[in-house]
Symmetry: C2
DNA sequence: AAATTTCATTTGCTTGTACAAACAACTTAA
DNA sequence: TTAAGTTGTTTGTACAAGCAAATGAAATTT
């Protein structure tokens, strides 16, 4: 299977794109002091204080164990706190957590601008949509 | 930034798709006894015995350190061997390595079929192409 | 009410991947 | 021909993410 064939493989191209855009996202979020995924999680917490971990898992499409670790980190960083109630954990933003929201939104917009400028606005949107759709179709 | 907004973010959708298709690829490659990425590496080695690690890094779009670890594993599994020559490492397939080539190709085809069936043949191709293009445009 | 099942979270362990620093071998120029 | 720089590989360390099993609480069944 000669060299160039790899780029006809969705597994391959998607993983590569994932690495590239992840690096870009880290760059955009650097000023906030947290990584992109932690940033998204924090925004979800700010958006709905008291959100449960399973809701976070649902939104972020990540497994519960990963969510636990990520919440741990937000707590250690003083951005959020866990209120345990029976078997549920409810996550609330701290003052510091509320305060970085603006930075997070800025970072997110910045990321959006960066890749949109490189891909073209419409192309970026189209790719995002296609990617989202495909992910949905493939998970079964 | 309310819930559904995440799906308008390329970083997000791409990472999700990457997780989904990686799982699918693992599934397809399970019969071969190695993971998809090791499988691709092995195919490259079979395709060009004596290939250097930097060539592998180039083809696979991965960093040299990652390549080292992956080659290590192929060696440990008895599928390949390193012939060190000066500062270069040349990777050759062993007998066992040559022998699993057919299985690897089958796994690869199987992966292709699986996602093409779910996405539609043309859509799958188009997405692959778009993804490849985008990765190229973004890495700068 | 006790036993069982279900559910949300946690913990231990594993894998993939990267970066930074180190190292080793080659190249070039004074 | 030695010093300086470059290039290919390796090693140490770290982090994201997952799985499987464990825990602890709630809900359901007997």
């Amino acid at each position: 299977m000669p060299e160039k064939y790899l780029e006809n493989c969705l597994y391959f191209t998607v993983n590569k794109l994932s690495r590239v855009i992840s690096k870009m996202a880290e760059e955009s979020f650097r000023p906030t002091g947290i990584t992109p995924t932690h940033g998204f999680m924090m925004m979800l917490v700010n958006n709905k204080p008291g959100i449960s971990q399973s809701e976070l898992a649902e939104e972020l499409h990540m497994t519960p164990s990963t969510i636990t670790r990520f919440v741990d980190k937000l707590v250690v960083k003083g951005l959020a706190e866990r209120k345990v109630q029976g078997k549920m954990s409810h996550i609330h933003p701290t003052k510091a957590g509320t305060e970085i929201q603006t930075d997070l939104e800025k970072a997110w917009k910045d990321l959006y601008r960066t890749y949109s400028d490189l891909l073209g606005d419409e192309e970026g949107k189209a790719l995002t949509k296609a990617t989202h759709l495909a992910a949905g179709q493939l998970e079964s």
